[in-house]
Amino acid sequence: MTNDPDQVIIEQLLAGDRGVYSVLVNKYKSYAFTIAQKILQNKPEAEEAAQDAFIKAYHHLAGFNSEAKFSTWLYRIVFNTAISYRRKNRYQFQSIENTVIKYDQDADGNLEKVDKKKYLNQAMLKLSEADRTALTLFYLDEFSLEEIAEITGMQANTAKVRIHRARQRLADELKTILSEEALTL
């Protein structure tokens, strides 16, 4: 008998109770969407990729190793799905200079918070896709280095070094963006 709540749901799913899958989707949708969004940098596309990943995971549940962590397995599918979406739609790539960053006024009325998010997004866009994904997983604060490595298909040591350097680069980019903003004021 397992104590892992995810495993209990998976067993119910495999027994044919497909309705319980919504519990897993609700639980992991934010992180799944975040990972897809950081890779694709396009909300509708990220939403579609994340949905696709959940559907793929559902249909491959029989092959899921119950000894493993469901979230790590799922996020690996999300990562791979987002990467394949990116490959398919590479021709639609928008350069950073032409990217219009929208203010999400509905999400929060606090202009300072919106600004911070905007600058952070701009700084993240200056990093490579691999750095962005590794940093996202790192700051989601749920994964060990080994899990980040498993999701992204890197060696744990490579992931460690990549995250370390990416944090420094992100701070540098953020500093540059903020200095440029200060000059335009």
Binding site: N26, K29, S30, T34, Y58, T136
Partner: protein, 176 residues
């Protein structure tokens, strides 16, 4: 403002993550007191860390779960040309070829199929080759036997993928 060295920058992250031992931390805090650029860099990194932690999670649309549940039945597995029918055809082909080759070998068709390749007949610049080159003998029967063995290996892989794996998968699903 002077730029912080890479070594100090690396230490700053370890300091922020609480990965320095007490002696190293005390030493680093002393350096922080004496170095304005280091303090400023620490403030930058802290600001970035706080912003990242606050803003990292993005929310999908409200009907996300509903859409996933609606689409569950519309999943199309990636199309593969390796269907069961194709697999069985390939398996039959492999077995047929292996059978014919075995019959031919056992009836002695390849017994006389031997030959040698004399490497000295190949025209190569003299300055690179000082000694006479060996001859390579080829035994036709051996070559065909190797091909038969490779075919049997390939046949086993196709048999496993086409018949055994789907069979065991179906049995596992029935047991569940």
């Amino acid at each position: 403002m002077k730029k912080v060295s890479q070594e100090l920058d690396d230490q700053l992250l370890l300091y922020l993550d609480g990965q320095l031992n007490s002696a190293a931390r005390e030493g680093f805090e002393l350096a922080l007191k004496q170095n304005d650029a280091l303090r400023q860099r620490l403030a930058q990194l802290q600001e970035m860390e706080t912003s990242m932690k606050k803003n990292i999670v993005e929310e999908p649309s409200k009907n996300f779960t509903q859409l996933v549940m609606q689409k569950l039945d519309h999943y199309q597995a990636p199309s593969s040309s390796f269907t069961m029918f194709n697999g069985i055809l390939l398996l039959v082909g492999i077995l047929l070829l292996t059978g014919i080759a075995t019959v031919l070998v056992s009836s002695g068709v390849f017994d006389q199929a031997t030959g040698t390749i004399d490497l000295n007949t190949i025209q190569l610049p003299k300055q690179y080759i000082q000694r006479s080159l060996p001859s390579i003998s080829i035994d036709g029967k051996l070559v065909i036997n190797v091909i038969i063995l490779l075919n049997l290996g390939l046949g086993w892989v196709v048999f496993d993928r086409t018949i055994l794996k789907p069979l065991f998968r179906r049995r596992m699903q029935m047991l569940r």
